[in-house]
């Protein structure tokens, strides 16, 4: 294409839209964090740092830590399960792999409210798991599985597992099979081959999956709200509360800011790891 103006012309409507309806609103939030909540719930336009300070107050900071902990746990479990599943799919005959992958990823594209609700059905006191147990003859009092931290973790793992399977599958499927054969030929057992050759070479997929699940989990609202119950608060719920019940928009904005900062930090770290691991990509295809 000769002139440089034509592509810009094509791009501009979308860019303008994104600017007006994403960049500006986010900048607004950034600014809002420094104002004060008005007496009747509006916004008092005085410049203050007290919202940000409040974020780091132990009461609220603990919620950040708890959210991070839950996000980390969910990401870890999802990565173990996801990698195992991806490895299994990559080990199947080539012609079956696309279909298996399709079915592994399919749930991911369905409504996540519905998927989360499914666990309510399974876990609640009158729910399916309890009924199955009763049916099998268990007489005792089963602990409530719903409205617990564990339920939230299950819900998060459930929602994001398909993506991890996808991201782990990519490097696994591109692995040159002669490399694992070479490891065996040189005397390594199947387990040693996995530990010293396959795993290091496919780590980028795990890293991507982990960061993705972590980032989406830490800011998640629906899963803790539905599976965690009224008492349970993660950052997402906290922000929601500030905007809809407590009417303290500036504080909500401050919380969001810190959340985004954490996310960006992680994404940048992941980009750095991906750069350094790109040496491993050479093993795919011709040696």
């Amino acid at each position: 294409m000769s002139s440089d103006r034509r592509p810009l012309l094509l791009m501009s409507p979308a860019i303008l839209w994104l600017f007006a309806l994403m960049v500006v609103p986010c900048a607004l939030i950034l600014v809002l964090a420094f104002f004060r909540r008005g007496i009747y719930g509006g916004i008092e336009y005085t410049w203050t740092l007290e919202n940000l300070t409040l974020v780091f107050d132990p009461l609220y900071f603990n919620i950040f830590l708890k959210s991070a902990g839950i996000a980390g746990l969910s990401a870890s479990i999802a990565c173990v399960l996801g990698y195992a599943a991806a490895y299994a799919i990559a080990a199947m005959p080539r012609r079956n792999q696309p279909l298996l992958l399709f079915f592994a990823v399919l749930p991911f594209w369905s409504n996540y409210l519905v998927r989360t609700y499914a666990w309510i059905v399974l876990l609640n006191r009158e729910g399916l798991i309890v009924n199955l147990a009763r049916w099998v003859g268990y007489k005792g009092e089963l602990p409530s599985m719903l409205y617990t931290e564990e339920a939230v973790v299950i819900g998060l793992v459930y929602n994001y597992l398909p993506f991890v399977i996808l991201s782990c599958y990519a490097p696994l499927s591109r692995l040159n099979p002669e490399i694992t054969e070479a490891s065996r030929d040189l005397g390594a057992s199947a387990w040693t081959t996995f530990r010293r050759v396959t795993l290091p070479m496919t780590v980028p997929g795990i890293a991507t999956g982990f960061v993705f699940v972590f980032v989406l989990s830490i800011g998640n609202f629906v899963t803790p709200a539905l599976l965690g119950g009224g008492q349970f608060q993660m950052i997402g719920n906290l922000v929601y509360a500030q905007f809809l019940t407590a009417n303290d928009w500036p504080f909500g904005a401050a919380l969001s800011m810190v959340l985004i900062a954490v996310m960006l930090g992680l994404l940048m770290a992941q980009a750095v790891v991906a750069e350094r691991a790109s040496g491993a990509k050479e093993g795919q295809g011709n040696g």
Binding site: L81, Y87, V105, R115
Partner: protein, 263 residues
């Protein structure tokens, strides 16, 4: 050479993971056809809950709203996203900032985007309703359409554009008669993806719908039902909503041979 035992282990892993993924969903689908509607007892196969759905005005209205939002936001997002993708790929040197802005909607936590938009609309004094939801949905939808179309453009044979110019057509004609037709499967796939995402989207809609009852979307309705009063027809609703996503995704895959982000 995959030894026998390893193969069996692989099958076991796949079995466990697929069971984990599909049992919860299957339970919902099964319950939707359960006459009693409760997990405690199966009293027989029945369509009754689907019937109840059709009589529920709130749900019907919400479904209607969702369709309106989805259709409009998909149309806008597809147009904007496609042109964005074409522009970006033609202009090979794009700054990091541009790439960040284009990918941002997919990475920003939805709750942050939701409150940002709420604040924005409030500040401007805009009265909120379905139109604000539509406008908000376009934001992330166009990013997804752009990603899908860009993926297709990576393997695009640019020399056909030169051939088209050489044969005398203007930029607009080339776009209209050469580029778009070749991209059509990806555009449709991206559109279907955007449609699905919009139909399922909850939190941004929740925050940008405003106070009125007239702008409640289906996910908002579902959320309210889960939170405040679970009735068995919710299983039927869930089944229908999931089927829509599945069909849209399957169609999208067929059209574009797996050109979804991440694949």
């Amino acid at each position: 050479m995959v030894e026998r035992n390893t193969f069996r282990l692989m099958l076991l892993i796949l079995g466990v993971v697929f069971a984990f993924l599909y049992i919860p969903i299957s339970v919902l689908v099964g319950l939707s056809f359960n006459e009693s509607g409760l997990p405690t007892a199966w009293t027989g196969f029945s369509f009754k809950w689907y019937g109840t759905l059709l009589e529920n005005d709130d749900i019907l209205r919400a479904a209607g709203n969702t369709l309106i939002v989805a259709i409009f936001s998909t149309v806008f997002a597809t147009l904007l996203g496609t042109f964005l993708a074409i522009g970006v790929e033609i202009r090979r040197r794009n700054g990091k900032w541009l790439e960040t802005v284009i990918f941002a909607p997919m990475i920003i936590p939805d709750i942050v985007l939701a409150i940002a938009l709420l604040s924005f609309f409030s500040l401007l004094g805009v009265k909120m309703g379905l139109h604000t939801i539509i406008v908000s949905h376009v934001v992330f939808n166009l990013a997804f359409v752009c990603a899908v179309v860009r993926a297709r453009l990576k393997s695009f044979d640019w020399s056909i554009i030169e051939a088209s110019s050489d044969l005398g057509s203007s930029t607009f004609t080339t776009l209209y008669r050469v580029v778009i037709p070749v991209l059509m499967p990806a555009i449709l796939a991206g559109g279907l993806l955007a449609f699905t995402l919009s139909v399922d989207e909850f939190i941004i809609a929740f925050f940008t719908a405003g106070a009125g009852r007239s702008s409640i979307t289906l996910p908002m309705q579902i959320y309210a039902m889960i939170r405040f009063g679970v009735t068995p027809e919710i299983n039927a609703l869930a089944t229908i909503v999931m089927s829509v996503s599945v069909i849209a995704l399957a169609l999208s895959q067929r059209l574009n041979k797996g050109g979804l982000p991440g694949q």
